[in-house]
Amino acid sequence: MRLNRSIVASALALSLSLIPAPLAQAADTFKLDPVHSYVVFQIKHLDVGNNWGRANGPTGTFTIDDADASKSSISISVKADSIDTGNAARDTHLKGPDFFDAKQFPNITFKSTAVKKTGEKTYEVTGDFTLHGVTKPLTVTLTKVGEGDKGAQAGGVRAGYETSFTIKRTDFGMTGMTQAVGDEVKLTVSFEGTK
């Protein structure tokens, strides 16, 4: 009987060790996938319509630690020169000194300083947001979209998150043409990463 118990215990231990570990273990660092990540913005034009644009090819890393969210971190960067609104002339103007001033301030960045888990799939992320050479603290709600091992061809383990927030461009010294182009900018950042 005693022997049987030890056999059962050993078998149980073995079987437990064979169960795959959770996909995102503590402090797994993901590298942003620029092809499947998006920075999309919406801004009012002449106070009558919403104009949309995107910044292409964001890069960075993120580490989401579900067990201890304070160990999580996110760092995302996108080139101001990648602004794309579907009109080349407007894009050139947007990249110029009246708006993004991309030649002087080439990078738009976000670096987290604190991450709190607020729900099963939501996090409150506070960090430093740098736009137009001005850095300001920013807090956003980050939602986990999904995670899974998609096989080697799809980059292995892949996780995706999304957040939407609003900023005032004038807070970042982007003060050009405020009569024609709104001050509030709605942003959606959706990113995937692989590890």
Partner: protein, 289 residues
């Protein structure tokens, strides 16, 4: 694009402010029985800076490092230095001082690039080139302003340069730089008109302020907006043609008024060429938008 009314305000408000400073300065000078030329660079800078917040959204912080904001303080610092320089030093010292002030102004505009190891060498090259051309402009202004009855060609040339530069900057995807150019043009025009009303001699005192501010605008326009090199060269060459008009045989035999027109026309030619070659592409773009 901003409305025509807004662009007109960009010219007239600085002109009003510059005119007020000119009247005030010359009035004070008469009371104190001194020459009132010190008012000219101050008026030019006051007019230019008066429109700055309306164009850029705010008066820049004193510690400003981005190119647009630096232009505000370049106007103020160089105007004060120019006004002070009128009461001290000899011609050689003033010339050296002018070159140093121009080099410092342009370095301030490109300070970001000077701090970037990858862009430092190119930035130094542009600062040297702009300082050399700026020094040539100042030399031409100083030489022409004291010569004959066509001396008013100098402030008129400055106003033309500022207006055409503003137009070219507006067409180079930079409304803010273009509007600041218009503000400078308004301020220059006011100093000319008030000078005519008060019957004062045109002063070369504003040459360094004008060259520092317009040069800074063009340097920023070329480096951070889409101002073309060919247009930059045409603008740079234009004032240097001013003394050349006197070498034309036809010029010497003419009346002073005709000589004035000849001088100004010669300066305007490269500026017109720059605008004429840029305009079609700009209009096409505007239609597409």
């Amino acid at each position: 694009m901003p409305t025509p009314q807004l662009l007109l305000t960009d010219v007239f408000l600085p002109a009003l402010v510059a005119a007020a400073v000119m009247f005030l300065g010359y009035g004070l000078a008469r009371l104190m029985r001194v020459k009132g030329h010190f008012a000219v660079p101050l008026a030019l800078a006051a007019g230019f800076c008066a429109r700055f917040a309306a164009v850029t959204g705010a008066i820049p912080a004193l510690s400003v490092l981005h190119a647009t904001g630096t232009l505000f303080y370049i106007g103020i610092y160089v105007a004060i230095l120019s006004a002070a320089a009128m009461y001290m030093g000899g011609t050689v010292l003033k010339s050296i001082g002018a070159v140093l002030v121009l080099a410092a102004s342009y370095s301030y505009v490109l300070n970001g690039r000077l701090r970037d190891p990858e862009m430092q060498a190119e930035a130094i090259g542009w600062i040297v080139a702009f300082t050399a051309v700026g020094a040539a402009w100042c030399m031409v202004y100083n030489r022409c302003v004291g010569e004959g009855k066509s001396r008013f060609a100098v402030p008129v040339t400055m106003a033309l340069l500022a207006i055409f530069s503003a137009i070219l900057l507006l067409m180079s995807y930079s409304v803010s730089y273009g509007r600041l150019g218009l503000a400078l043009a308004g301020a220059v025009s006011a100093t000319l008109l008030v000078g005519l009303i008060l019957k004062t001699e045109p002063s070369a005192a504003m040459a360094v302020v004008f060259t520092a501010v317009l040069g800074g605008l063009l340097l920023a326009g070329f480096n951070f907006a889409e101002l073309k090199l060919s247009n930059l060269i045409l603008i740079g060459v234009a004032p240097i043609l001013l003394p050349l008009s006197k070498r034309l045989p036809a010029y010497r035999k003419r009346r002073p008024a005709t000589q004035f027109v000849w001088s100004v026309t010669l300066v305007a030619v490269p500026l017109l060429v720059a605008v004429a070659t840029t305009l079609p592409a700009f209009l096409r773009t505007m239609q597409e938008q």
